[in-house]
Symmetry: C2
Subunit: 205 residues, 2 copies
Amino acid sequence: MTRPLLPLADAAPAERADAARNREALLREAVRMVAEGGTSSLTMECLAHRAGVGKGTVFRRFGSREGLMAQVLDLSERDWQASVLGGEPPLGPGAPPWERLVAFGESRLRTTLLHADLIRAAGDATGSRSVAASSFMALHVGHLLGELGVAGDLPLLATALLAPLEVPVLVQQVDREHLPVERVVAAWVDLAGRVVSARADAGRR
Amino acid sequence: MTRPLLPLADAAPAERADAARNREALLREAVRMVAEGGTSSLTMECLAHRAGVGKGTVFRRFGSREGLMAQVLDLSERDWQASVLGGEPPLGPGAPPWERLVAFGESRLRTTLLHADLIRAAGDATGSRSVAASSFMALHVGHLLGELGVAGDLPLLATALLAPLEVPVLVQQVDREHLPVERVVAAWVDLAGRVVSARADAGRR
């Protein structure tokens, strides 16, 4: 939610806070529509109808369907990050680091698959969001690897664990090769286990 | 090189073989130009000038600069695959599997960085080439993991080892974060070592 940093005049801040609340409500409705019927069900017309506002309002708020998709993606990503930072364990704080790492991998994998359609629908409107999300995830995974006592180049090991969770890899495996999501999750947990359990110099044969 | 499957008439096949040879020669020249001066140095005009042909010939052969870039990329990729399949060890056959895996990782990483600019310049003209290249690499790495006696879901472990070698990951690390290539190579070798050396059920803590 965007709020003015300073109160400006009497009427304007109230209007802007109101607009922000309306935008947030429209976005929450859009997230629900995508969860129920996929990205194809989310059109500017249907969103306006479901939210009981004019189509012009939806266009004014989001500019275009791509802009709406980008903001739905952004909200969903923020919700997910919040659940990693402060949500229920084992994804959130409070569980042992290995359990948090496993929960992170499975949750991210499923979130990425959900987001893949949104990213496609948002097109260029996604901007630099994915870089910011990647650095959040790299910091989190690097932190968990440190807690697990893993020795090595932790930032790059974190990147290596995140790379198989990227959209193109998962879309190829699940959407094109039709691998069961459970198998992809199990393989990621196996990979993480190998990274965590290996002695630092055990690789050479 | 494309050759007609059946001889058609007297003149036509000779012309087509000739055209294929000319196209290959233009492509070899284009690969040299990219190696010397980067993708920005490769324009249709300069290629025509260096090859001593008319600009119209270059456009007829490749359609557009994007089309040319896609074919330069394709030739470079085929050259690289040939060196994996039948080139000198340790990248090619004849070296122990761990040495081949290390040579593969380093070679692919450097090739991907070289290709990243070409892929950008080729844009949509790259088509489905990257999927074909990915499945070649996944088969090769899975085969080496098998030779190394690794237990587990080898196709998915291979995919996990290939994911950090994808263009967006390496471009982020090397072009944007300015990590030294040697560090990224070392981290990949460390990752591969962990995958190879781990006992199959050692991950759980």
